[in-house]
């Protein structure tokens, strides 16, 4: 998710990680009129593929178009946060990502050669997914691609390059594509732009992408190097090997290390990308005696931007096409996959007639607020890492110098605030009528908990949720029938809370109930539940109470 912003491009030195994405001619290329589809996704990167898999597991037919012929333009995005892993688990690739990835939880912050402090992400025990996993983006793309191939509803079309998009009517978009067999066109009831920071769809619609460019350049390099450094995030301010600038070191699988070196605004992006220029910089950091191979090099500039609206008639934007943040904090793919997590069930409900089209307005409400939150964090981190004025640098240096001596100043040191999920303040939630303690938040994603099946096998709470709405009930038997299509999990019968963590995290009492959206966010909870209240909360969460 780290695309160079200044056209400097990136250089894949090894070019070894190319998984091919074969071109197959579609029957849509032989029709005289453009074939019409319910959903067309532009962009087969991790965000587009996550959306396709999410729609696919819900049985919603969708076509994915992408111009590329292979994966593997270097590692790019590498950090996957717990909430992202939970979403990937729902899509069927989370366990694979964790198994292959490097799990880490300790971060160290240095100033010059001195360790200023370290932070432990301290993942609470009793969650299926760890706090963070590092994994090359091309692995995740491969897992999602293979998952999509298992889903009959997903039609993947690579070497289908989008050359233009038109909004024909509020209910229809048309897209032009270029393939090895020549051009063709498609029509879509919903066209989802997941085509990245330089989105062609965004340009075709003439939409402005307002925000800030930070006048600084960074060298990002992945090196292959057998080394016994621990799996930790190391961040330096003003290190001896890159004086006056910052540096970051992060571990990936296969002995690959991510290195990020701040170069300053005066650095020449073309010159700095040359391996003979990069090598001495890395040798200064890693030592000359330690052999390494260059896997991937890129020079980039931070940007913080977002579209004013993520929905334009039948065209909807997700991921970097909709919002762009600096990489420190891992908010690129982690926020992109939360966009698709939010969008997929809403599209599925609208297309099946279970929800009004107005439900899409809440994609804007929920994900634009999330984008603002991510942009705020990202802008603040960037301002700390690359101070924009003399005064700003003095204050930053004061915070760094105090951090070594007193604990309070460590809270001010900002080397990237790592991605956490957004708690939605949304009209889809039914306001609480009773007070609840614990860590579960109305509008937030459900906290996981370890449970036990009646036959003694362990099971995770999140793995018990259905693909649609789920009602969690604290008790052996619901005293009434629930609305059709609502999946019920009875804690005490379907699964037992032997460790007591469900009770603790949800402030559970016998008779309490929690209504969960298909994206695993909590939308209503009750101390003593009545049958009509569940139906009303579900109607509300599906958007039937929204202004039309």
């Amino acid at each position: 998710m780290r695309e160079p912003a200044d056209g400097s491009g990136s250089l894949d030195v090894s070019a070894a990680k190319n998984f091919s994405r074969p071109y197959r001619r579609s029957k849509d290329q032989d029709t005289s009129r453009p074939a019409r589809h319910r959903v067309v996704i532009v962009g087969g990167g991790p965000v587009g593929l996550s959306l396709a898999a999410d729609l696919g597991v819900r049985g919603v037919p969708c076509v994915v178009v992408d111009g590329k012929a292979a994966f593997g333009e270097g590692s790019r995005g590498i950090c996957y946060a717990k909430r992202t892993l939970e979403i990937l688990d729902r899509l069927g690739v989370g366990e694979r990502a964790v198994e292959k990835g490097v799990t880490w939880q300790l971060g160290k912050v240095f100033r010059k050669e001195e360790l200023l402090y370290q932070f432990d992400l301290l993942p609470e025990a009793g969650h299926k997914m760890p706090a963070f996993v590092n994994l090359q983006q091309y692995y995740l793309e491969q897992y999602l691609y293979e998952r999509c191939q298992e889903l009959p509803a997903v039609d993947l079309r690579f070497q289908n390059r989008c050359t233009g998009v038109e909004v024909v009517s509020p209910e229809l978009a048309r897209i032009r594509l270029e393939t090895p067999d020549g051009p063709y066109a498609l029509e879509a009831e919903y066209l989802i732009a997941c085509d990245g920071s330089r989105s062609l769809v965004r340009q075709a619609l003439g939409l402005s992408f307002a925000g800030r460019v930070f006048e600084d350049r960074f060298l990002i390099a992945d090196v292959k190097m057998p080394a016994d450094y621990p799996a930790e995030r190391w961040f330096w301010f003003d290190p001896p090997f890159n004086p006056g600038q910052s540096a970051l070191l992060h571990k990936q699988p296969d002995d690959i290390w991510r290195i990020d070196l701040q170069l300053g605004w005066d650095a020449d992006p073309v010159e700095e990308r040359r391996p003979e220029r990069v090598r001495p910089r890395l040798e200064a950091m890693l030592g000359k005696e330690r052999p390494f191979e260059l896997e991937w090099i890129s020079i980039y500039t931070f940007q913080c931007r977002r579209l004013q609206s993520f929905v334009h008639g039948p065209v909807i934007f997700a991921g970097d096409a909709a919002h762009l943040v600096s990489p420190f904090g891992a908010r690129g793919f982690n926020s992109g996959v939360q966009d698709t997590d939010n969008l997929a069930w809403k599209l599925a409900a609208i297309l099946a007639g279970r929800a009004p089209a107005a439900l899409l307005a809440t994609y804007r409400i929920e994900r634009e607020a999330a984008a603002d939150e991510n942009l705020r964090h990202s802008t603040r981190s960037t301002d700390f890492i690359t101070p924009k004025s003399h005064a700003s640098r003095v204050i930053r240096d004061a915070a760094l110098s105090l951090a070594a001596e007193t604990p309070f100043a460590r809270a001010l040191v900002n080397s990237g605030r790592l991605s956490t999920p957004t708690v939605y303040d949304t009209p889809l939630s039914t306001p609480d009528t009773a007070s609840f303690g614990g860590t579960a938040r109305l509008g937030g994603p459900l906290p996981d908990a370890p449970l036990v099946r009646p036959d003694g096998r362990p099971v995770w709470l999140l793995n018990l949720l259905g693909p649609g709405f789920t009602l969690l009930y604290d008790g052996a038997e619901l005293p009434f029938a629930v609305p059709e299509g609502l999946h019920v999990v009875r804690i005490g019968r379907d699964a037992l809370d032997e460790a007591g963590l469900f009770r603790e995290r949800y402030d559970a009492q016998p008779g309490s109930a929690w209504l969960v959206r298909p994206d695993q966010h909590l939308c209503a909870r009750f101390r003593a539940v009545e049958p009509h209240a569940i139906g009303a909360a579900m109607r509300r969460a599906l958007g039937w109470e929204l202004p039309r």
């Binding site: 800030r212 802008t379 003095v394 204050i395 240096d397 004061a398 915070a399 110098s401 105090l402 007193t406 309070f408 100043a409 001010l412």
Partner: protein, 79 residues
């Protein structure tokens, strides 16, 4: 919630003033600026309350509005 205290509150105003000036004694300008910044952060943490700190920032900034460069105004408006 408390408000920023703007009435005399120092136990020994002359003594504190002298101590503050003395703290800068012998320091080059750059080090002096760092000392001030460290002091601000230390005192801010001691105060803690966001509202009091906001009032203090506004009070400190108020007479300097005229000195702001047009460039800075434009860029702060765009944020």
């Amino acid at each position: 919630m408390t408000s920023l205290i703007t009435t005399p509150n120092l136990e020994d105003p002359d003594g504190f003033y002298a101590a503050l000036v003395a703290a800068h004694q012998g320091l080059p300008e750059k080090a002096s600026a760092l000392l001030n910044a460290r002091l601000v952060l230390i005192l801010a943490n001691h105060i803690g309350e966001e509202k009091v700190l906001e009032e203090a920032l506004a009070l400190a900034r108020a007479p300097l509005a005229a000195e702001e460069s047009p460039d800075a105004q434009a860029s702060s408006a765009s944020r």
